[in-house]
Amino acid sequence: MRQTLYLAARYLAFHRIKTAILITSITLILYLPVGLRVLVAQSSERLTARAMATPLIVGAKGSPLELVLNSLYFGSDVPEKMRYAESIRIADSGLALAIPMYTRFHSQGHPIVGTGFEYFRFRGLQVESGRQIAMLGECVLGSRVAATLGVGPGDSVVSSPENVFDLAGVYPLKMHVVGILAYSDSPDDDAIFVDLKTAWVIEGLGHGHQDLSAPEAASTVLSREGGKVTANASVVQYTEITPQNIDSFHFHGDLSGNPVTAVIAVPPDQKASAILQGRYQGEGEKAQIAHPVTVMDELLDTILTVQSFVVAGAIVVGAATLASAALVFMLSLRLRRREIETLFKIGGSRRAVGTVMVSEIVAVLLAGVILAAGLTFLTSQFGSVVIRALIRM
């Protein structure tokens, strides 16, 4: 038996290119559908986990998928805005903890997430260096943002204009970095967090400007009639909030009218959750309530449908490749007729010669299976990490 296996091994080693091609083909045939399934299953689990950790999301009526993706991953188009009053309404109902979010702005490609203090506790985010945001105009960075931009506590980041041609639009705000969040292996690592009010300052809904009653502002004042002072647009507005000018920052009107993109609602129990969801079923309701798990399940169903097509295609290609491999073996046997005859002539039995041939085929198949298993294992361990790194490149 040893001699038989030796002959098979020598044959495969001698025809190493053909052997390598066969092993590679078999490896890929097995690995592609299995590896894809592992990757999708793993990603689905992670996707569902973040959705499951977010009980309910309230937003303006529109695409629930957009609302959920934006609120969980800060990545999709900005959903329709709604009034902050909706957050107050949820909080006042006593049915849920309301965590408002405003995710409209960016800084150097990183999303600026305006939110409430509760968000950090809700997501279990800890400040690794520096401190938590305390004053208007401060921000804390996700760990990957800090690493990418090379900034830390004491540095600053500037909000990006939404449109370079919008010269009269939103002023860029220089924000002071006061803390870096610990790595959480989540989309929070890629975000810049500010207080909701700071996000409103970026939008221009709150601002600080020179005192219009001060002599140096005289040139900006168009008229003074009793208690009414009218100034022109040249009033100096601050683009950075400092201890010296923070007292001049103010908001106009009722804050409840300011915008948010979503409110994460965290009900204490199922009953409160059901009642809260029921409140958004009315026809005249301007807001929608999304159950992230349901929305993500629907999304995953779509992913699985796509995956099924890919797997079906891989199986068809695999079958064709296996047929080709079988043909290669059969043709190989024909080409090796003289070699086989020589084996018979030197005393080899039909069984021994057959065993050599079968051993070669089994060895190739076995090598393919082992390699495919190894690749599948690596995929389960590092697949999503590698692909995320490739996406960010």
Binding site: L125, R131, S186, D247
Partner: protein, 310 residues
């Protein structure tokens, strides 16, 4: 579906691009443990006093403003804000008091505006400066009077809001909080009755306030009050005296309410104009002696002394 293309791209990217759930991805904020004292931070002394009276030993009340300033205009630093962030409840006065609250990060779920029930009864200054610039148009920076607690009936509403907030945070001690509230309410009603008695029949009497902080007091007791901007520890400048003389020409007041004892020179100059000085301490900060009620009793005595004068 205008985002179908996006959706297919997004689902792939998101499916493989999302991270693992972090350990803290628990859906709800961890339930509070009720064995510790309720940590309560406040923005002025009256709220601290009410909270202590209502909560007793069940609450730990912190009022971190320095004792020598007006807490209404105090701005905490980041460390103090962090202390507020760690509280179970943050009691706000409302009515625009402590404007710094709008410029810091505090957890909204733990903020309690104790004057919300009488929001529609705030006194809004008629001489607020309105200005306009830029695209947002005309606006003012808010001149709502905020010494709401000087009307004891409103002080009771502050206290009721505190009682409700405490009961919601610690429902098992609701009866204790209700008891503390009732005791405080009795005291405040007594104060109200005394003030009403002392000020009865003074509706037509012109009165001056050294500072515009007595709006709720004058509204409650129908005082004919006008205010100047005199500081107790500063001698008013010529402009200030001129403004006072203009007011006196049409509003012949015989006494002026002061937040603290004015300088002797100021008091003399006022005497020269036939205006007596009466200290009515709003007690926004921790008093050097006594507590909120004793300060109010002293205010009452001061009023009695002046009104019983020749």
């Amino acid at each position: 579906m205008r985002h179908q293309g996006f959706t297919l791209l997004a689902l792939t990217l998101v499916a493989i691009g999302c991270g693992a759930p972090e350990p803290g991805d628990a859906p709800a904020v961890a339930p509070a443990t009720h064995d510790a004292k309720l940590s309560v931070y406040v923005v002025n002394y009256p709220l601290a006093y009410f909270a202590e009276r209502i909560g007793g030993d069940l609450v730990d009340v912190d009022f971190p403003a320095p004792p020598d300033g007006d807490p209404a205009f105090w701005v905490p630093d980041a460390d103090r804000v962090a202390a507020y962030q760690g509280a179970d409840l943050i009691l706000l006065n409302g009515a625009g008091y402590a404007g710094w609250v709008d410029r810091v990060t505090l957890p909204p779920s733990r903020l309690v505006n104790t004057s919300m029930s009488f929001k529609d009864r705030y006194v809004v200054s008629e001489d607020a400066v309105v200005h306009s610039h830029g695209p947002e148009g005309e606006h003012d920076h808010g001149d709502t009077a905020f010494t709401t607690w000087l009307d004891p009936t409103l002080a009771i509403e502050h206290a009721a809001a505190i009682r409700d907030a405490f009961a919601a945070a610690r429902p098992e001690h609701e009866a204790v909080f209700a008891g503390g509230f009732e005791s405080l309410k009795t005291d405040l009603l007594e104060l109200d009755a005394s003030l009403e008695q002392v000020t009865a029949g003074q509706a037509q009497t012109p009165v001056l306030g050294s500072h515009p902080v007595y709006q709720y007091l004058s509204r409650r007791y129908e005082l004919n009050l006008r205010s100047v901007h005199f500081e107790p520890d500063e001698d008013p400048d010529a402009k200030g005296w001129q403004a006072l003389d203009e007011i006196l020409s049409e509003h012949p007041a015989r006494w002026m309410l002061w937040e603290a004892e004015p300088l002797a020179t100021t008091a003399e100059k006022l005497e020269g104009r036939g205006v007596a000085s009466v200290v009515f301490d709003p007690c926004g900060n921790v008093p050097e002696e006594g507590d909120f009620l004793t300060v109010m009793q002293r205010n009452l005595s001061n009023l009695e002394r002046v009104l019983a004068g020749p």
